[in-house]
């Protein structure tokens, strides 16, 4: 039931004891503000790490080749190792069930034009699986498919920014784009969370590129993702065993670091995971510390408030106040102050985060935001703590004999 007189009593008490109210409010507001800022910054740090790896699948393995640095089996150092279509088939045959997706890559740069618009873009010739490795998101149309590979069709999938650059406001899907003098049909438009560079990219079937550029079966790189069911150790072992098999296949010395390079994301992923875990642990530790400091602060204030008001409570009792009304007047005042102060702290903390975002983002803290529900949860924790901390002394005060409370000090 809404008791206007009770609230009038409480507002009068808050209003006439401003220092006390402000001090207790400040403690809460400050704790909540710190809590919000801290969690925001920590979230930003986590976002920074997460973003660094959002571009590619976390379970990727990249295979690149170079020149040998050591003579082996009668072959001289300085020999160039070239990956071919058959190498991808070999890996697929050898490791079938450990592989999730696999694709080759050929890198080119192309001058693209549509009507009067011209620009130069990097081109990747790939297999259909590449979509999943690169986390490419198809916005319109489709990605490269197996039929394209089998028939070496002259089709391309272009990035959102390529469409923007060349096709201005019109749609590119179904139109023909001119790449270094040859027209290709655009069968899809994609977006990518990896940033603008990833969206200024053209994809084409591997076989098409091999026909047009050199008529061979060379590929520049083989990318694959391992079966996500593999644990960290198994994933590392898998990467190493690919490296060993390929070295044997190409007659490369086992201690040659340059000829065949296998980059396994499992390692990086694990480090990032550990780092994120560490940051989170640190934040939880400090967040809890802030909350505990807030709880201790509000408890102290409540004990002090009750002590300061003992005489007033005694007078009220002598005039006929029931113990319940004594407890409620103290508790509601405390809850009201905590709620308002917590809300202010929340607003101030969020505001500071918002204002500081440009500065923080220059310092590698990406999007330092904090979940509203988390801060509200923290505020509610403090409100409950304040209520409990206030309840015990208020309850005791309500049970003191008025004569004790009224005794002159």
């Amino acid at each position: 039931m809404f008791d206007i007189d009770l609230w009038r009593e409480i507002f009068q008490s808050i209003n006439m004891n401003r220092t006390r109210s402000l001090l207790s409010g400040f403690t809460i507001a400050f704790a909540i503000m710190l809590f919000a800022i801290l969690f925001g910054i920590a979230n930003g740090l986590n976002n920074t790490f997460a973003e660094g790896f959002v571009d590619d699948a976390a379970n990727s393995i990249f295979i690149r080749t170079g020149r040998t640095t050591k003579a082996n089996k009668g072959l001289q150092a300085g020999r160039r190792i070239q990956l071919k279509n058959e190498d991808q088939d070999y890996i697929t045959d050898e490791f079938g069930n450990k592989i999730q997706y696999i694709t080759s890559r050929i890198y080119k740069n192309v001058n693209a034009s549509f009507r009067n618009e011209k620009n130069s873009y990097p081109l990747r010739a790939v297999h259909p699986d590449h979509q999943f490795l690169e986390k490419t998101i198809i916005k319109e149309g489709r990605y490269i498919n197996q039929l394209d590979i089998d028939n070496s069709t002259k089709v391309v999938v272009i990035g959102r920014l390529v469409e923007e650059d060349l096709f201005l406001k019109t749609t590119a899907l179904g139109k023909y784009i001119n790449l270094s003098g040859i027209p290709y049909k655009i069968v899809g438009i994609f977006t990518d969370d990896g940033g603008d560079n990833e969206e200024r990219m053209v994809y084409m079937p591997v076989s098409t590129a091999q026909h047009i550029y050199g008529n061979n079966d060379y590929v520049d790189q083989i990318n694959l993702t391992y079966n996500p069911n593999l644990n960290f150790d198994q994933a590392l072992a898998f990467g190493n065993s690919i490296k060993k098999k390929l070295k044997d296949r190409f007659n490369v010395a086992s201690n040659d670091q340059r000829a065949i390079r296998v980059q396994n994301m499992a390692q990086g992923t694990k480090i990032v995971g550990q780092l994120t875990f560490g940051i989170n642990l640190f934040v939880i530790f400090i967040g809890l510390g802030t909350l505990i400091a807030g709880v201790v602060g509000i408890s102290n204030i409540m004990i002090f408030v009750v002590k300061e008001r003992t005489k007033e409570l005694g007078i009220r009792k002598a005039l006929g106040a029931s113990p319940r009304s004594i407890v409620s007047i103290i508790l509601i005042e405390s809850i009201l102050i905590t709620t308002i102060a917590g809300y202010l702290g929340l607003i101030i903390g969020m505001g500071i985060l918002e204002l500081a975002t440009p500065i923080l983002e220059e310092n590698f803290i990406k999007d330092p935001s904090v979940k509203l529900s988390l801060v509200i949860g923290a505020t509610i924790t403090l409100i409950i703590a304040g209520a409990i901390a206030g309840y015990l002394p208020a309850k005791r005060a309500s049970q003191i004999k008025p004569i004790v409370a009224l005794r002159d000090d």
Binding site: I4, D5, R8, E9, Q12, S13, M16, N17, K311, E312, G314, I315, R316, K317, A318, L319, G320, A321, S322, P323, R324, S325, S398, Q399, K401, P402, I403, L406, D408
Partner: protein, 233 residues
């Protein structure tokens, strides 16, 4: 009106206990004005506090207006205090952040009266003690005599059956004391039952009956010729 039989009260002091009231028998009729006298430590304040339900007796009977006051819950005690009793303290005990009117109206708040009614009644009682113009002043803007008059107005506001005063003039100078006593006498003239604790002989003589306590027992209980305070004012 008020009947006390074989009242005992002791306070623990360390391991031993101090026997303050050693079997008090007292009865007060409606309309009386009684002074309880005694040196400090005689138990007079303890007796008043027990009568005022601010404290509890260890043994004995206490009947107020035909209601036995015994083993009260805090809630019951609060209701009885509000209904039966008005308190006047030596140190006034006004709530310092409430203005005179709010202080006077506070017992009415605990009676559950509506705000409009509380203000009306509060102003009426302030008028009665001659402080209507001071209704919106805080206690620290009032003189000692004015504070005590606000306290009296507050004690009267709930229309209690019994007024209890603990050294009501203890913190006041002689002239103001006489003004306050004059006012209390006029309340008694209107029929209010008044019980006061004092150690000043001349104040006691302004009552109609004097009960003297010494070491926790009643030494003397006599009716006296009331000295009117108005002659000094």
């Amino acid at each position: 009106m008020l009947k006390i039989e074989k009242l005992h009260k002791s306070y623990p002091i360390g391991d031993s206990s101090l026997h303050v009231l050693k079997g008090i028998d007292l009865s007060v009729e409606s309309g009386e004005m009684v002074a309880i006298m005694g040196s400090s430590g005689s138990g007079k304040s303890t007796l008043l506090n027990i009568i005022g339900m601010l404290d509890e007796a260890d043994e004995g009977n206490y009947i107020l207006d035909d209601v036995p006051i015994k083993n009260l819950t805090e809630k019951k005690a609060a209701i009885y205090r509000n209904k039966f009793l008005g308190f006047i303290f030596q140190s006034f005990n006004l709530i310092n952040y409430k203005n005179a009117l709010d202080n006077v109206a506070l017992p009415l708040y605990y009676q559950g009266l509506k705000r409009k009614e509380r203000i009306e009644k509060g102003l009426f009682h302030l008028e009665k003690v001659g402080l209507r113009d001071w209704a919106h002043h805080l206690p620290n803007e009032l003189s000692g005599g004015q504070k005590q008059r606000v306290a009296i107005a507050r004690a009267l506001a709930a229309n209690p059956k019994l007024l209890l005063a603990d050294e009501p003039t203890g913190a006041l100078d002689t002239k103001t004391s006489h003004e306050i006593m004059d006012f209390i006498q006029s309340l008694n003239d209107e029929g209010k039952t008044i019980l006061m604790v004092t150690h000043e002989e001349d104040i006691a003589n302004m009552c109609k009956r004097i009960v003297r306590l010494r070491d926790g027992v009643i030494m003397e209980d006599k009716f006296v010729e009331q000295v009117r305070a108005s002659q000094y004012v």
